[in-house]
C-alpha cells in the first residue's frame, strides 16, 4: 500500500468518524463539540476532494504527454511510420541541372551582375577622364568673356598730348 492510498484511507476514516460524532454530539446537545466535529468533517472532505481532483489532473496530464519523461528512445514502429510518410526530398536547385532548359532567370540575373560591373567600371573611367576634359572646354568657352589683355584704356606715349590743339599748332607757341 503506497502513501497515496494510505492518505485516502486516512481521509475516509476521518470523514466517517467526524461525521458520526457530529451527529452524536448533536443528539447529545453538545453544540461546541458538534461544531468542532463538523469543522474536522469539512476539512477532511475538502482534503479528500482536492487530492482526488489533483490525482485526476495528473492522470490527464500523463495521458496528454507525447512522450513519458523516462522514455529516451522512440518506438521503432512509430519512427518507421513517420519516415515512410515523410514528403519526398525537394531539390531547391533543380534549375541548375544540366538537362534543364529553364535557365532564363538565372542567366538574366547573371547578365545583370555583369552589366552592373561594366557600368561601374565605365563610371569610374568617366569620372577620371571626362571631368578634366569638360573643364578645359568650359574654360575655353569662357575665354570670349574675358577683358582685353591690354586693358580698356589706351595709354598715350605723351601724357600732354591731350592738351594739344586738335587742328594744328596754336599762335604764340613755338
Amino acid at each position: 500500500m503506497n502513501g497515496r492510498r494510505i492518505g485516502y484511507l486516512a481521509a475516509i476514516v476521518t470523514i466517517a468518524a467526524s461525521g458520526y460524532y457530529f451527529f452524536v454530539y448533536l443528539t447529545r446537545w453538545e453544540w461546541n463539540r458538534a461544531l468542532t466535529s463538523g469543522v474536522i468533517l469539512l476539512a477532511a472532505e475538502i482534503a479528500l476532494f482536492g487530492a482526488l481532483v489533483l490525482d485526476r489532473i495528473g492522470k490527464l496530464r500523463g495521458s496528454l504527454a507525447p512522450v513519458s519523461p523516462g522514455r529516451r528512445d522512440p518506438r521503432p514502429q512509430v519512427l518507421a511510420r513517420i519516415r515512410e510518410s515523410a514528403p519526398a526530398h525537394r531539390n531547391h536547385f533543380a534549375w541548375l541541372r544540366p538537362d534543364s532548359t529553364n535557365v532564363f532567370v538565372p542567366v538574366l540575373l547573371g547578365a545583370g551582375v555583369v552589366v552592373s560591373g561594366v557600368a561601374w567600371l565605365v563610371e569610374r573611367v568617366a569620372r577620371a577622364t571626362a571631368g578634366k576634359q569638360m573643364e578645359r572646354g568650359l574654360a575655353l568657352q569662357l575665354d570670349v568673356l574675358a577683358p582685353p589683355a591690354e586693358g580698356l584704356i589706351v595709354r598715350e606715349a605723351d601724357p600732354f598730348s591731350l592738351f594739344a590743339p586738335a587742328n594744328g599748332p596754336k599762335a604764340g607757341v613755338s
Binding site: 451527529f23 448533536l26 443528539t27 447529545r28 446537545w29 453538545e30 453544540w31 461546541n32 463539540r33
Partner: protein, 126 residues
C-alpha cells in the same frame, strides 16, 4: 421496479432519520413531576482557570440554567469537595430536559473548565 424500491426505501429511511434527528435535537414536551426533584452531581476540573472552582460551578450553572425550566432546590449549588458539586431542580426533568441540561454541562461551554456529569437521579422532594 428494483430502482423504484430502492428509491422508496431511501425516502422512507430519510423521513425516519430526519424525524429521529428532530426528536433528538429539538425541544419536546416532557413529563415532569412537581413532587420530585432531579439531582445532578458534576465534577469540575480547571486548567489555568483563574478563579476558584466554586466560581466555575456558578458560571456553569448560569450558562446552562436557560436550557430547562424549574427552580433550583435549596441549598443551591452544593460543593461536595474535590471539585464535585451537586444541585437539584424541581419539578423533575423529563427525558428531553435532561438531554439538554446534561449536554450543556458536558459541552465545554466555560473556557478552561472541563465538567463531567457523574450522576443524575430523580428523587422525592422533601
Amino acid at each position: 421496479m428494483k430502482r423504484a424500491i430502492v428509491y422508496l426505501v431511501l425516502i422512507v429511511g430519510g423521513v425516519f432519520g430526519i424525524k429521529a434527528m428532530g426528536d433528538a435535537t429539538q425541544t419536546r414536551v416532557d413529563e415532569r413531576h412537581d413532587d420530585m426533584k432531579t439531582e445532578v452531581v458534576v465534577h469540575l476540573e480547571g486548567k489555568n482557570y483563574r478563579q476558584s472552582l466554586d466560581t466555575a460551578a456558578f458560571a456553569l450553572w448560569g450558562s446552562c440554567s436557560a436550557t430547562v425550566g424549574g427552580d433550583l432546590v435549596d441549598p443551591g449549588i452544593e460543593p461536595l469537595g474535590d471539585g464535585t458539586y451537586r444541585f437539584a431542580m424541581t419539578p423533575s426533568l423529563g427525558h428531553h430536559g435532561k438531554e439538554r441540561l446534561l449536554g450543556c454541562l458536558r459541552d465545554l461551554g466555560i473556557d478552561r473548565v472541563k465538567s463531567n456529569v457523574e450522576s443524575v437521579n430523580d428523587v422525592p422532594l422533601v
